[in-house]
């Protein structure tokens, strides 16, 4: 199968959906001639023109509000917020408006809106351009949260997101954009709420998403040499969450390591740990182990940055510890 970059896969999903449905349009900062801060939209202005690739001022509230208003009146916007850190500026429109409109209207009103954004550590961008804020959105009922780790998943999930009638927060990872992976040429979509077992194994379940999937797979490969057989589960969508696949895996392995780049406090990782502990306590041979980011703003200095989030060595250590219990 051909291999393409994560960013190319996202672009393909967008062009396919824009070609399929004239109601789909793009809105965001520097998405015109510039092609987006991460060049995801390269060439799209030429292809679709300024009527469907709407380049905006630096007005995050207005970008999301515009997207919501258009979604309410018959369109299917894909709004880009350049960095997930900047969603803070648009939070009323995301959390109080988009997330709640369907509920508040008694289920009468759809909001078919995709907010594409990207987060994560790795480029020395420090505290205001490196955050992992997925738990903000995970915490708000009414939003769907997607975090693809591969080119294949990114494409299939984004196409599903565009066709969904709820607001979807589609969180990409800045370090994965150039990573190539196999992507089918034939059209496909990937349903929400279906975890992908990225690696099958019997000894320990490793739950990871976004860039931590890649690090966990590297760790799993190394552990295999030591005779430890890891099962790596990528939920792909945090909301809806495929908890059954996680529970089934834990029933098989009896051990769970949860890996997440975000600060541990109030995180997805701690919630996964809580859910598994509540639902599958009897199957656990050892306490759940969480490998998460420190509760710190992301520092600029490379060494400080690296120790702020889980590295392969941290995952290795966690698995080795839990396997002994």
């Amino acid at each position: 199968m051909r291999e393409i970059e994560y960013r190319e896969a996202i672009r393909e999903a967008i062009t396919e959906e824009m070609d399929r449905d004239k109601k789909v349009f793009l809105i965001g900062e520097d998405i015109g001639v510039y092609g987006g801060a991460f060049k995801v939209y390269k060439g799209l202005l030429d292809k679709y023109g300024p009527g469907r690739v709407i380049n905006t001022p630096i007005s995050e509230v207005a970008i999301i509000g515009t997207a919501i208003g258009a979604a309410l009146t018959g369109y299917r916007p894909i709004a880009e917020i350049m960095f997930i850190d900047f969603t803070a500026l648009a939070m009323d429109q995301i959390a109080n408006q988009a997330a709640k409109i369907r509920f508040m209207s008694g289920g009468n009103i759809d909001v078919p809106l995709v907010i594409r954004t990207q987060g994560g550590v790795g480029k020395g961008l420090s505290a205001q351009h490196s955050q992992s804020l997925e738990s903000w959105f995970y915490h708000i009922p009414g939003l769907k949260v997607v975090m693809p780790s591969t080119a294949n998943d990114a494409k299939g999930l984004l196409k599903t997101a565009v066709r969904d009638n709820s607001p979807v927060i589609f969180i990409e990872h800045k370090m994965i954009y150039p990573v190539k992976g196999p992507v089918a040429e034939k059209e496909y979509t990937i349903p929400f709420g279906k975890a992908d077992i990225k690696r099958k194994g019997n000894d320990v379940t490793v739950f990871a998403y976004a860039n931590m999937v890649l690090k966990s797979l590297e760790a799993a490969e190394e552990l295999e040499r030591d005779g430890v057989d890891c099962e790596v589960i990528d939920p792909r969508t945090l909301v809806p969450l495929d908890i059954n696949t996680i529970i089934d895996s834990v029933k098989k392995t009896g051990r769970l390591v949860v890996v997440s780049e975000a600060c541990r406090r109030g995180s997805i990782a701690s919630d996964i740990s809580a859910i598994v502990t509540e639902k599958a306590f009897g199957y656990l041979k050892a306490p759940v182990k969480i490998v998460a980011g420190l509760n710190t703003p992301i520092p600029y200095n490379l060494a400080l940055e690296q120790v702020s989030i889980p590295q392969k060595a941290d995952i290795l250590e966690a698995v080795k510890t839990i396997i002994k219990k």
Binding site: F25, V61, D92
Partner: protein
């Protein structure tokens, strides 16, 4: 006396009366505990929604705010479903999930009231963008208050809709108070309407107690919007006769000030007088309209009272934890 047909003006009076009586009934029911939560009556401000909604057509949109019953009624919302929603009942507009601040009716182009001050302003840009992309000449009226005009969203939205030349009419209902904060103390310039120059769009400052003036001004802005020339900003000076909500005694206002507006600037009383003086309507006909409005509102209260409570089991099932 006017640019509008007599029948239209009588219809406007009917709407003014219906809004006034709906709000009075809602306050009464709030005081005896039939309505809970927050209730923000628009008594004193009725001429703005009535005049503005008279200036648009069936396919146009409106976006409202927390003080939004008047906008909904002026746009033709079903007062039975509105009252049932205030009661939190299953036949309400939102099935009891929204309440007073979240009524919406997509069939009427009412894109929603809003519980966040300024929350609807950015969405109006998107509705305007839809109208522009549809290219059918439809427009959006966006209602907000003086309080919302001080929120950052006001700037982002007006700037964005001005650069994109969107068909949105921004209608600032300046009732002089954001809860207790007087606009004289909170707005750096005297008139919010003058801020239009920052976006190079037309700005109008009008007497919001006169439905015909509102109609005329909004009509002019709507015409411009339909012609593809972009947004306008209208500041309609008005006054809320009650406090922020029925339990707010509004002690932050001078008694004299409130007396002036309630005695001199009552949009319902003044419009009645005007139509009577112009011999557009008789006192007897007004009585009939009032009686009819009372009947309709009483029917709405009966409808709301008899409507079943929302299905609790269904709600719990829908929200089962992971």
């Amino acid at each position: 006396m006017a640019a509008l047909p007599e029948k239209t003006m009588i219809n406007m009076l009917k709407r003014l009366i219906e809004i006034r009586k709906f709000e009075e009934k809602a306050i009464e029911l709030y005081r005896i505990g039939k309505i809970r939560g927050y209730l923000h009556p628009c008594i004193g401000q009725e001429a703005i929604p009535v005049g503005a909604c008279q200036a648009i057509g069936r396919k146009d949109y409106i976006i409202s705010n927390h003080r939004g019953h008047g906008h909904c009624i002026a746009r033709g919302a079903d007062i039975k479903k509105m009252m049932a929603e205030l009661f939190g009942k299953s036949d309400g507009y939102c099935g009891g999930r929204g309440g007073s601040m979240h009524i919406a009716d997509m069939d009427l182009g009412i894109l929603g009231e809003n519980g966040i001050v300024g929350g609807g302003i950015p969405m109006s840009v998107g509705a305007g963008l839809s109208c522009k992309m549809d290219d059918k000449g439809n427009v959006v009226l966006c209602f907000f208050g003086d309080g919302a005009a001080n929120n950052g969203v006001f700037h982002e939205a007006l700037n964005m809709s001005a650069i994109l030349k969107l068909p949105v009419v921004y209608i600032c209902e300046n009732n002089m108070y954001a809860i207790s904060m007087c606009s004289a103390d909170s707005v750096a310039c005297r008139d919010i309407g003058k801020r239009s120059c920052a976006y190079d769009i037309p700005g109008y400052i009008i007497d919001g107690s006169d439905p015909l003036k509102v109609y005329k001004s909004v009509g002019r802005a709507v015409k411009r919007a339909r012609e593809g020339k972009g947004p306008s900003l209208i500041e309609a000076k008005t006054y809320r006769f009650y406090g922020h909500h029925p339990n707010d005694p509004a002690q932050y206002r001078e008694k004299k000030e409130a007396e002036y507006y309630t005695s001199q600037k009552d949009p319902v009383v003044n419009f009645k007088k005007r139509l009577l003086a112009g011999k557009v309507i008789t006192a007897e006909e007004i009585n009939k309209i009032e009686k009819k409005a009372d009947e309709r509102i009483n029917d709405a209260v009966i409808f709301a009272s008899e409507s079943p409570e929302p299905d609790l089991k269904k709600f719990l099932k829908e929200n089962k934890p992971d």
